[in-house]
Structures are given as C-alpha cells and as structure tokens.
C-alpha cells in the first residue's frame, strides 16, 4: 500500500514537473522576446503589460473556469492547464525583461552606440548580458508561482500533485493531502534555491 503511494507520488511529481516545465518554457519563449520588443516599441508597453497584468489578477480557479468553455484552447485536460499557467507566468518575465533592459546604465548604452555597435550587437553584447540577472529573477518568481498554481490544475483534469490535494480534501484524508502538498512545497523551495544559484552564476557583473 505504502509503496503504491510512493509510486503515485513519484508519478504525479513527474507530471507536475512536466506541467511546470512546459508552461515555463512556453512563457519564457513568449515573454522574453516580447519584453525585448517592448523596449524598442515603447507605445506597445501599456497594452501588453496591461493584458499580462489582467491575466495575473484573475483568480487562478476562475481563469481555469473561463478557459474550459473556449474552443481549441479550452476544455478539460492538460492543455487547458498549460494555457492558464503560461498566462500567469507571462507578467513577471515580461516585466523583468523590460526592467532589466531599460535599467542598463544609459552611459553604457550610449558608449556602445558611439563605439559603432549595431542594434543587434547592442542587444546581444550589452543589454541582454547586463539584464540577465533581472530576467532570471523574473523567471524564478514565475517558476515558483507556477509550481503552486499548477496544483490547482488538477481541478480541470490537468493532473500533477494537485490530484492528491483535491482527493485528500474531498475524502478528508490528511495523508493524501500531505502527499500532494509536501512534494509541491519542496519542489517550490528547491526551484527557488536552484534558480537563485543559477542567477548568481550567470550574472556577468
């Protein structure tokens, strides 16, 4: 019985990590380039940040609820959960990409331009390296939040450690509840520490 539980914990943990990993991958692939674009097209900032802001403000269970009736994106299952998690993760990554790049010392940016760097060289050789730390901090915040939010994904059939939590709640079974809650909390702490370490390592300054 207990080995069954252990296997279930393992399987759901893997599923949870998959949900978080995939969502973060998509969110980063969208939010970092969009964040860079926003530093070049300032007038878009209000709209894009506004959208991301609203997404983050909607309570997570409500957001899952909104997505279910939507065609293509919605329905019951993992993909709906991933769409919601991506929408949640956008804002911190977007905002930190923007702050990181705009926070580069203007005299450094000016001398890069004065040395004859192209737009691309300025971005790749100066702005992104100097913004790395801030962007990674955004990824870290988003990841830790997503690990928590992903537990709610079980409510719409997304799987993951939330399955235990909801089952435990329904059957008033503390063991089951903890079987979901403890690993989820541990993953979150580990991710926070791990990404913080990466931040320190990769930071060029």
């Amino acid at each position: 019985m207990s080995s069954m539980l252990a296997r279930d914990i393992f399987d759901l943990t893997v599923e949870h990590l998959f949900l978080v990993g995939l969502s973060m991958g998509i969110a980063a692939a969208v939010a970092i380039p969009v964040g860079i674009l926003l530093t070049r097209r300032m007038f878009l900032q209000r709209w894009v940040l506004g959208f991301a802001n609203v997404m983050q403000t909607v309570p997570s269970l409500a957001l899952f609820g909104f997505l279910i009736p939507l065609p293509f994106l919605g329905g019951i299952g993992k993909h709906t959960a991933i769409v919601a998690l991506v929408l949640y993760a956008l804002l911190p990554i977007l905002r930190n990409t923007l702050t990181g790049i705009l926070g580069v010392d203007p005299t450094v940016r000016e001398s890069a331009i004065a040395m004859g760097m192209t737009e691309r060289q300025l971005l790749v050789e100066v702005e992104l390296p100097l913004a790395t730390r801030t962007i990674l901090a955004g990824l870290r915040i988003a990841t830790v939040t997503t690990i928590g939010t992903a537990t709610i994904a079980a409510a719409i059939g997304g799987g993951g450690l939330g399955v235990f939590i909801f089952r435990g709640l329904a059957s008033v079974d503390t063991t089951l509840l903890l079987a979901g809650a403890v690993p989820a909390a541990l993953i979150a702490v580990a991710a926070d520490r791990g990404l913080e370490w990466v931040e320190q390592k990769l930071s060029p300054v």
């Binding site: 890069a112 004859g116 100066v126």
Partner: protein, 254 residues
C-alpha cells in the same frame, strides 16, 4: 605634402538644434582641422555636449549640416562613421561585464580584426596608457580606480586607430592630481599619434592646457573662437567670465 584642398575633418555649417520648444544650439559654424585640438568651453547647459554628439551622429542637427571629411553626417553610414571616431565620456562608460582587454579591443573586434591582432593592439595600448598589460588585461572596470578607468576609456577610443577623438569632460570626475596626470598623458599620446581632437569642458584651465584652439559656447551660440593668447585677450563678456576663474592663480604663475 600636396597643397590640394583638403576638406576639414569636421565642419559645422549653420547648425541649430532644438529639443521640443527649447533651442540648444543657434547657427553654429566652425571647422576642426586635422591635427588640432579644438576645445569647446562653456557652462553647463551651453550646448557643448549636444554639439559634440552631432559629430558622431548620436544627435542630428535640426537645421544646418555637420560634415565629417566633407560628407554630411546624414549621408554617412553611422555605424561606419562611429567606428572611425574615438569617443570618451566622463565616467568612461566602460562595459562593466567586459574585462579591460575586451573593452579596449571592442572596436577592432567589431571591425573584424583577427584575434591575435586585437590582442597585440590591446597590449600595446595598455602599455602606452601606463597600465601594465600583465596586471590589467583580465580585470573588470569595477576593479579599477577612477583614473585607471579613464585611461582604459582613452585606450578604447584609440583602439581602431581613428583619425578623430571626441572627448566629453573626459577628466571631469577625477581628483585634481589624477586629472593633471591624465591631461598630460593625453597631450603626449595625442602628439605622438597625431590625433585630431574635439574636446568639451567647463574647465578653463583644461581648455588652455589642451586646446590648440578654444571655442566658447554661451546659450548655444559660439561667442569666441581662437587661439590661447587671443582667448586671454578677448573682451566678450562670457570669455571674461571664464577669465575671472583664472585670475588669482594664473597671475601668480606668470
């Protein structure tokens, strides 16, 4: 030397600049001839930095024309133009994530020099600016003193061997002793390498020390342009305001 007409290295023709409603420069005309150091002297807000930034196309004139080697900045490929002009600013503007060697070697690298050539150039320049390469190539800007950073800034500006240097208050943030050391280093290098320079400062002593000619900007207008002795004799009100900064100590030393 042939005596065919050579267009001045830098030429301002009726240049005006406004930012919004505010006029920064009015009808500015002057040349910088090859080999000279022209110092633009002026108070804060006189428009001198704006004028400097028009030379390498960081800013473009609202009216009039700035020409480099006879070609208006609006017609230059700005990337190419900037790589032919060394640029030094007050806090050096070094890249904090690049080592000293990477900072100095930047423009040669952008210009596609071979790695060994870049390295050799960096070694040579560091030696020339008085920073032993063995100690300094791998350091980061934050590990340098203000004076050392400024030396690196000058080396970086010289790296691709540009004919022209632009310097915006290059020694303004340094303590007086370091400032004088760097001013003399600059004079030595400039004379040895035969560089043309356009330098902006609010320090009248610096203008007299470094300038082969001095231009005085006041509220965006060029109110004086001439050599040192003419400057010291000039009667323009703004030039005389700068004379008063000199009076006590300068008279002692004469």
């Amino acid at each position: 030397m042939t005596d065919g007409h050579v267009s001045p290295l830098v030429s301002f023709r009726q240049v005006s600049a406004h930012v919004g409603q505010k006029n920064i420069l009015h009808d500015l005309s002057f040349d910088v001839e090859a080999g000279e150091t022209l110092v633009l002297l002026g108070r804060s807000g006189s428009g001198k930095t704006t004028a400097l930034k028009m030379v390498n196309g960081l800013l473009l004139p609202s009216a009039g024309e700035v020409s480099i080697e006879g070609v208006p900045t609006t017609a230059w490929d700005l990337i190419r133009l900037r790589r032919r002009i060394g640029y030094v600013i007050q806090e050096a503007g070094l890249f904090p994530h690049f080592t000293v060697a990477a900072n100095v070697g930047l423009v040669p690298r952008l210009e596609g020099w071979q790695v060994p050539d870049v390295d050799a150039r960096v070694q040579d320049l560091l030696a020339q600016i008085g920073l032993p390469p063995t100690q300094f190539t791998t350091r980061y800007p934050r590990e340098l003193s203000g004076g050392q950073r400024q030396r690196v800034g000058i080396a970086r500006a010289l790296a691709a061997n540009p004919p022209l240097l632009l310097l915006d208050e290059p020694f303004g943030a340094l303590d007086p002793v370091t400032r004088v050391e760097l001013q003399h280093m600059f004079i030595d290098l400039r004379d040895k390498l035969g560089k043309t320079a356009l330098l902006v400062t609010h320090d009248v002593r610096e203008a007299l020390l470094l300038g082969t000619r001095i231009g005085v900007l006041h509220s965006g207008r060029l109110v004086f342009l001439g050599g040192r002795s003419e400057f010291l004799k000039a009667q323009d009100e703004e030039v005389r305001a700068f004379h008063t900064c000199l009076e006590e100590k300068w008279e002692d030393s004469i």
